[in-house]
Every structure is written in C-alpha cells, then in structure tokens.
C-alpha cells in the first residue's frame, strides 16, 4: 500500500506541476499573440476582417431586437414632448423654407457663373446606405460595424455620413462587413475648414464626446458657433461635409461638438467619392463604380 500511496503522491505532484506549467504556457502564448499582432499588423488586420465577416450575421440577429427596443424607448420619450416638438418643427420649417428660396436663387446664380467661367467640378459622389450592426465602443475605441463590405463597393478610407454630418471613416473592410472609426476616436485626424473664415485646421478625436481643433493658425479668429466642414484635403473625402460646431474657445484649445448623434445611429451612408484617396490603404483596390446592388447595401444615385 505504501508504494501505491507514493505513486499517488508523485502523480499528484506531476499533475500540479503540469497545471502550473500550463498557466505559464498560456501566459506566454498570450504575449506571443500580442507580439505577433504588433509585428505583423497586416496579418492581424486580415484575421480581424475574417472574424468580423463571421460575426456579422450573428450580430445582425442580435442587433434587430436591440434596435427595436431602443426605438421603443425613444418613441416613449418622444411621446412626452410631442406638442413642443411639433411647435419647434413648425417654426424650423418656416425658417428652412426661407433658406430654400435663398438656396435656389444661389444655385441658379452659381450655375450661371460656372457656365460663364468653365468651372470644372470634382467627381460626383455616390452613396451606399448601410445598417449599423454592432458598436465597437469601449474605453479604448469609438467605432461601429456596418453590414456592407467590399462586395457592395465599400473601400478603406471612405467617409461615413449621417443625415446631420460626418460620422467617421471606414477603417477595415471585409467581404460583407466594414468597421467605421468615428471622428471621436483617439486615432481620428481630419483635415477641416472653418466655414466662415475658410481657415484650415485638423480636427482630432480623444474618445470623449467632443472633438479638438488643432494646427490652427490663429485661435483668435474662431468664434463659438462656427461650423466645421471637411476640407477635402487628402483626397478621399468630398469637400464641405459638415462635422460639427465650435462650442468652446479657450487658451490654445478649441472644442467642437459633432453634429452626428453617435448615441442613436442606426443607418449611415458610406460616401464613395470615386477618387482613390491618399489616405486609403494601398493594398486595397478602390471600388469601381459598379451598378451592382447587394442585398445589404443599396446604391443610391
């Protein structure tokens, strides 16, 4: 019996040693994966895209009921303020009608002047409407997943807009999915114009709801309420997509509130400007303007 006890003791020791070794091995493996990810970013991007493509259908299944619940909550909230909302919209409508008249007049005038001066406009943009199927919002990243990908004509670096303004740009593209990096993400840098003064600047995200304006020539010229629009520098974005308005001008820092409401995004439009942008990934061939319409994304215009 003593031999058997000894054997069991030794076996137990071996087992615990293997278990301890297994933990070490797993930790080493985790660091190995991190190092590989650091060394070979292309490979990681590739794996990421495959994972996104695989997860996208499941996410869509989750997103629909969640979206319905979100909408129901929003509906309830809106019921409470229906009357005030109606009055506000009436007022806004009358104001916008005046603007429409002005815009029509200016458009005619512009067209006439362009005809006179043989002005050559940039390429026309086309849109792909996409549904948001996932948020990649955490303490470290501000983004979202879309249900359209390369098959629908989405390419790296394209602008993503909502009805209100710019939301972000395409950071990763899979066959049937894509990841948007919001303008509020810490990695987002955009060349912009201040609409009133036509001054150039860079708008920088820092994972907070507001953006920061940097590389301004003079902070003094910026006023609260100034609209910030894309400048089109860098090539992949059209000129003049509204981004946000200045809400705070302080010592050397200007804060911008984005027009897009990131907390209730459901559908967005991916703008295909038709020009291979300077910021786009050289490995990705920009989408040709094919007339093909995928089941997920709808090509408009």
């Amino acid at each position: 019996m003593a031999i058997r006890d000894d054997f069991e003791v030794v076996a137990g020791q071996v087992r615990s040693a293997v278990q301890r070794f297994a933990l070490g091995l797993l930790i080493i493996a985790a660091f190995g994966i991190m190092l590989v990810g650091k060394a070979d970013t292309v490979l990681v991007e590739h794996v990421r895209v495959v994972a996104l493509d695989l997860a996208a259908p499941m996410l869509e299944a989750i997103a629909r009921p969640v979206g319905a619940a979100n909408r129901a909550i929003a509906d309830l909230q809106e019921f409470a303020s229906l009357r005030e909302e109606n009055a506000r919209l009436r007022e806004e409508n009358s104001r916008l009608l005046a603007w429409q008249t002005a815009a029509r007049r200016l458009e005619n005038e512009n067209e006439g002047l362009r005809g006179l001066s043989r002005f050559h406009e940039g390429p026309e943009a086309s849109f792909i409407t996409a549904r948001l199927v996932g948020d990649s919002v955490s303490a470290y990243v501000r983004g979202a997943l879309l249900n359209v990908g390369r098959r629908a004509g989405v390419a790296h670096g394209q602008a993503v807009v909502t009805g209100e303004g710019l939301a972000g740009r395409i950071a990763e593209v899979g066959e049937n999915s894509a990841r948007v990096l919001f303008v509020t993400d810490v990695n987002s840098r955009l060349p912009v114009l201040i609409e009133r003064t036509r001054e150039r600047a860079i708008v920088v995200g820092n994972n907070s709801p507001q953006l920061r304006l940097t590389l301004l020539q003079s902070v003094a010229g910026v006023q609260r309420g100034d609209r910030i629009i894309t400048s089109g520098h860098g090539g992949s974005f059209p000129v003049g997509i509204p981004i946000g308005e200045v809400v705070e001008t302080g010592e050397g820092s200007v804060r911008v509130r984005p027009f897009a409401d990131f907390s209730r995004l459901e559908f967005v439009r991916v703008v295909d400007y038709g020009v291979p942008g300077l910021v786009s990934n050289p490995g990705v061939v920009p989408a040709t303007t094919q007339p093909g319409v995928s089941s997920a994304g709808q090509r408009v215009r």
């Binding site: 933990l23 985790a30 979206g67 948020d135 919002v137 979202a144 990763e172 994972n207 995004l265």
Partner: protein, 190 residues
C-alpha cells in the same frame, strides 16, 4: 447519479458546453448596439464576469486554451487600431487561475466576500488591459472611461452574478469538497 441514454448524453454535453456558449454569447453581445448610457460602457467587461462566475464552480469546463481563444476573438471584434490582440485572453486566463487558487475564499462563502473577490479581480483585469493598451499604442489613454467601466460592472455584479449561478444551479459539481461555509448547491448567498 449517472444518467444513461441519449438524453443523458445530451445533458452531459449541454452541461459541458454551457459555460463556453454563455461566454461566446457575451463576447458577441459586447458589440450589440445597446444604447443605454453607462450600461453600454460596461459591456466589454461582461465576458470577464462570466469567466469569474463559471470558474467558481466548474473551471474544468472553461479550459485555458478556450479562454485564450475567446479573449483573442473579443480583442479582434472590439478592434481599435494598434490595440493589442490577446490582452483579454491573458486577463481571462489570469482570472481563472486566481479563482481556482483561491477557491476556498470564494466558494460557499457569504455573497459579500464573493463580490469583494470579484471587485479585486476585475480591478486587476481593467488595470492590465488599460496598461497594456497604453503601452502598446504608446499613448496615455484617459483612464476615466476605463474606471467608469469598472464601477458599472462592479455595481452590475450582484444582478448578473446570481443569475449566472442559477444557470448552473443543478450542477453536482457546484460545491467542491474544499468549500467552506454553508451555502447549498447553486446558492451564492445565505
């Protein structure tokens, strides 16, 4: 206690696969466009909570390699340019190891002890992810968001933890031999 037949086999398989499936579900749920303020911030920590809760009773059903794979999947899906892939996997493996090593202080004890244990381990997890992400991207990431995430998940634990414990309530392995205290199978609080 052995159940035979097809149903029995299915039952055993189901039990063996349950923790992994729940973990996968929470990893995917991390990306769900849930628009509830604060709650949505804490979603990325739900998988860590699952790992903690299931490691209490049945760590053998969440083997280390599976945890590593789930963590890598979470990092891949959550994305972020330059963010380290595999840091969540490392965190999961460490949580499981810590729970297994300190089982006698966490299983069959009053709920508050368990909660405190989770607070400590989740803090370790958040600090690990934050510091490695900062190191990897070489930027000082504002720690406030990570802290908010941590606070929310700690507050959520009493709501979700017992729910997950209930999922494995009829598990014969629920209370290990080494357990202290007087909790009944499936119970986490007296």
């Amino acid at each position: 206690m052995r159940v035979d037949g097809t149903l029995g086999t299915l039952d055993r398989w189901g039990r063996a696969a349950l923790p992994g499936t729940v973990l996968l579900f929470f990893v995917l749920l991390t990306l769900a466009p849930l628009r509830v303020p604060y709650l949505a911030d804490a979603l990325p920590l739900l998988p860590a909570l699952t790992v903690f809760q299931f490691s209490l009773a049945t760590p053998e059903r969440l083997p280390g390699p599976l945890l590593l794979a789930m963590g890598v999947l979470l990092d891949l899906l959550l994305g972020g340019p330059g963010a380290p892939v595999g840091v969540s996997g490392l965190g999961f493996v460490l949580i499981r190891a810590a729970v297994v090593a300190n089982r006698r202080y966490l299983v069959g004890v009053p709920f508050l002890f368990q909660w405190a244990g989770f607070c400590l381990l989740a803090l370790g997890f958040v600090v690990l992810v934050w510091s490695l992400t900062s190191l990897w991207t070489w930027t000082a990431i504002a720690p406030l968001a990570a802290f908010v995430q941590y606070v929310v998940i700690v507050v959520l634990y009493p709501l979700i933890g017992p729910l997950l414990a209930r999922v494995r309530a009829r598990d014969p392995l629920n209370v290990p031999e080494l357990s202290r205290g007087t909790a009944r199978p499936g119970g986490t609080a007296p």
